[in-house]
């Protein structure tokens, strides 16, 4: 109960952190606008400053969701379950940003909106697994918490297999488009944006866990009122 109580009340750092995050988001376009153009790709390269941090948060969400699910299956503590659920929603959010900004950049650089490259395919499938997780949690009814946890675990174990299979499939059927390696010098705006996205991730996760804890508390209160 004390831990639930911890989840319900927002920590002291939350509001200042939210304010800083808002300011950083407001400042980021200015910072990106002032960075020099990349020689080959020009303006479109600037998508990277949002695309890559979003992709990293997508990955982070996957790790948080998987670890929280494994801990939930071991301990059955509702707290881990809430974290897993919140992380899955963030996977879908940041994954959507990644999957929308990626093709915008690819169209300019590779000339195609989509290619079955290993990163693209594994991102898409992981995103689909996260969407499936949310569908299970929403429509699965009783027992969907464990079902979701199992799905998250299997989803994590699946990633290396997707990676290997797509990589091999692609190397025996090479495409003419060149998959460019990531530029080496990202500079200040990239780390600035990464930190902004990370802050947003932590804030949203915390807020979502709080919402779920409040719901659980409300349910408990209803039940005690009935008795």
């Amino acid at each position: 109960m004390t831990r639930d109580h911890d989840d319900i009340s927002l920590p002291g750092w939350f509001l200042p952190a939210a304010a800083i995050c808002g300011l950083m988001f407001a400042a980021s376009p200015v910072l990106i606008a002032y960075t020099p153009y990349e020689a080959e790709m020009g303006l479109v390269q600037k998508i990277f400053y949002y695309h890559l941090p979003a992709a990293w948060m997508f990955l982070l969400g996957g790790i948080v969701c998987g670890v929280a699910s494994a801990r939930y299956l071991r301990s059955r503590s509702a707290r881990h379950d809430r974290v897993a659920w919140a992380a899955a929603e963030l996977i879908v959010l940041f994954g959507a940003i990644t999957l929308v900004t990626g093709p915008l950049w690819a169209r300019k650089t590779w000339g195609v909106w989509w290619t079955w490259d290993v990163r693209l395919t594994s991102s898409l499938v992981s995103w689909l697994i996260a969407v499936a997780y949310l569908l299970v949690r929403r429509y699965g009814g009783p027992g969907s918490d464990r079902l979701g946890a199992g799905l998250a675990l299997f989803g994590m174990a699946n990633v290396p297999f997707i990676y290997i299979s797509v990589n091999f499939w692609r190397t025996i059927h090479p495409l003419t488009t060149v998959v460019p390696t990531l530029p080496t010098s990202f500079g200040i705006p990239l780390w600035f944006c990464t930190f902004t996205f990370l802050l947003l991730f932590v804030l949203l996760l915390r807020l979502r866990v709080r919402l779920e804890a409040q719901r659980a508390r409300l349910d408990t209160l209803y039940l005690s009122l009935d008795e």
Binding site: L73, R74, R76, T121, V125, L128, I129, A132, L135, V136, Y139, G140, G141, P142, G143, S144, R146, L147, A149, G150, L151, L153, F154, G155, A157, N158, F161, I162, I164, S165, V166, F168, W169, I172
Partner: protein, 227 residues
Amino acid sequence: MSFLRILWLILRKDLTVEIRSGEIALTALLFAVSCVLVFAFAFVRQGVPPDGAAAAVLWIAVLFAGTLALGRTFDRERQSETLRALLLAPAARPAVYAGKLAGIVALMLGIELLLVPLTAFLFQDPLFAHPVWLAAILLTGTLGFASVGTLFAAMLVRARSRDMLLPVLLYPISVPVIIASVQGTDALLQPEINVAVLRFWVTLLTCFDVVFVTLALWTFEALMTES
């Protein structure tokens, strides 16, 4: 009771029920045949099937029929409340999982026995040119799909809208199996088979089977325990 004995008893029970009623085998088989026919109508133009379509069509039909069979197998257990009895029995949970898995694999392999000749016939592809490799791909691919499918179908037994959720969960997770099986079968259809490529796909499928069967055996108890 030993692990193998429980496995055998559950497998024998499932096969006996199936031989007496024929419900799942016949329905899933007819569904798989209909799938192949639909693809034949869609793809074969002026009597000429497109190159290498047989591999894709075969595996799509196997996956669809497998999903149908998985859903119904556990639905039957739920309707007659026998799943509860199975879980109450003084038998190790992993053995129960292994028994159900063996039943599903046997059923799917039985369906494939008819499906492969039919696909080879309708798409005029030399699927039987290398029977040992074909058997290896069919066995490892089916086991990979069924290992995940059995676990999720078992977990979904009590969930609402389970018929809709099963494919939604199953297909993203089985992406590596789909890629490896289709590519492996496709490699069999080439005029000159590349043994290195075939060996790679069969090894990948075997690794997938080992990891996912182990993970399922390990998590089945935690996931199926009534809270």
